[in-house]
Amino acid sequence: MKFSQEHEWVTVKGDIATVGITEYAADQLGDIVYVELPEIDTEYGKMDRVGSIESVKTVSDLFTPIGGTVIEVNPAISDTTPDGDVNDDQHFEYINQDAYDKGWLFKIRMSDPKDLDDLMNKEEYDAMIKA
């Protein structure tokens, strides 16, 4: 797992990267009440703003640490079901309770795997949040 300056985490399988926000970020934001997710099938550049996260305390922009095309968003967090109906069973608490697994946000097909080189490993990220 890799980490960005903006407190996102990334895991990679083939050319697909899965992105979420870190436990530290979720803890700083407090209880999350809404997430605006990126559009599926849309291409974003590295560090583009792709959405926002609203907590009981504040609203923060959501960035993508990797450029590429978004292929999937977390159905437990999305406003709509895969069939396009209103999702009335959203679980924003997954991000607070299980940021690295159930709380993932979106999957992106990487346009340039070199984007991963700029990310931090766990030790580097832990050192950054301590500083």
């Binding site: 700083q28 407090g30 999350i32 009440v33 809404y34 609203e54 305390k57 504040t58 924003f92 608490e93």
Partner: protein, 481 residues
Amino acid sequence: MTKIIFEKTSEGRKGSAVPEKDINIAEISIDIDEEMKADKIPDLPELSELDVIRHYTELANKNICVNSHFYPLGSCTMKYNPCVNEEIASMRSFTDIHPYQVESSVSGNLEIMYLLKKYLCELTGMDDFTLQPAAGAHGEFTAMLMTKKWFELKKENRTKILIPDSAHGTNPASANMAGFEVVQIASNENGTVNLDDLEAKIDDKTACFMMTNPNTLGLFERDILKISEKIHSKGGLLYYDGANLNAILGLVRPGDAGFDFVHLNMHKTFSTPHGGGGPGAGPVGAKGKLAECLPLPKIIQKEDKTFSLMYDNPSSIGRVKAFYGNFLVLVKALAYILSMGKDEIANVAKLSVLNANYLLKKLEDIYEIPYGKSCMHEFVASADRQKNIGVTAIDICKRMLDYGFHAPTVYFPLIVHEALMIEPTETESIQTLDLYSEILHKIQEETEKNPDLLHEAPHNMPVKRLDDVTAARKPDLAYKK
């Protein structure tokens, strides 16, 4: 929990008796579409006058307000609102007028507004004011429209508004609403504007720099003259968000520090009631030629010394509100200024700064104070230390309610973790400040010995800890049977 008034209804109960009708009432037939007609009579509660009085008195007693509690809500300047303001504003010559009355019959009311304008000019170093905006953010938006107009008149295409990262959220919102691009300026390690970052981001597309001074960390921007020079050398405007004017009222004039225009919050600095207590007022003032862009109508004094409304000025952005502003709020602000007087008004700033520093010193042994050893009218403490042992800023604030204090502003500004933004204002006595400090020390003891007491707070309020997430996600806003 208190029942709502609809649940207290008792069929057939009446508040007052209406005499039996003893005349024939003419039948009036009006053509109303069937679908527009209500299919049942409205479901209004049936109560006696005493039921209603008891209901609202009970609700009023649950209220936490400046009249009942110490209310150190940072950035909001919750000072005491003197009774004399209300007394004056309830005079019939102010309440029983109509905005469509002929001008000559309300010349005295226009004079009131003209006088207030003059005093606000004197206090801020501006040349003219509009009293129209209904609140601080409305004032900011008005200022952004003026900025747009200013550069249109100068035929310059400027698209960017610079805003410090410690600013109130309304600043970027106002700039955005007016169609500008917002550029964030970082703070330096002292909590004030980072001049290098400003230098790097300012360019010939910069329309304006919006500043709050002292800023939201309660720190005076000492580099203000350098900043003003920098902005003006690039042809930009410098805007003063008056949220924190209380700290410098009567001592420093924004206009003298290089600000081109300002908005003021009557409900903060000038002791009129806040939001829930009635409409607000956020007058905007400007210097020199920029004042030509202020909204119309403008209140002027004619040669015969009477007062009038002037509607003709192509440089103006036009109206920003129906009629002339929230008049009774303006009357209260003028009453406040006059009751203070020229000599006393600087004491507002001196005592608000003294009170804030007194509390800062009293509390620095329990909370981290990330920026500065001293402050202006408010300071931002951090509950980071407490968070390390599992107690958050919100837990501490909920516990304060149990002890009879309103909570400070929390989690703002965003650049401070677990922020507690404390603004005591000048109207609090040393006894109140001492008691507040004593209670916060007691809460610190509880934090260390019995953190669950804080996690579950408040304990003595009509409702316990509310579920913020459900409240935000599934708000219950309307009564349904």
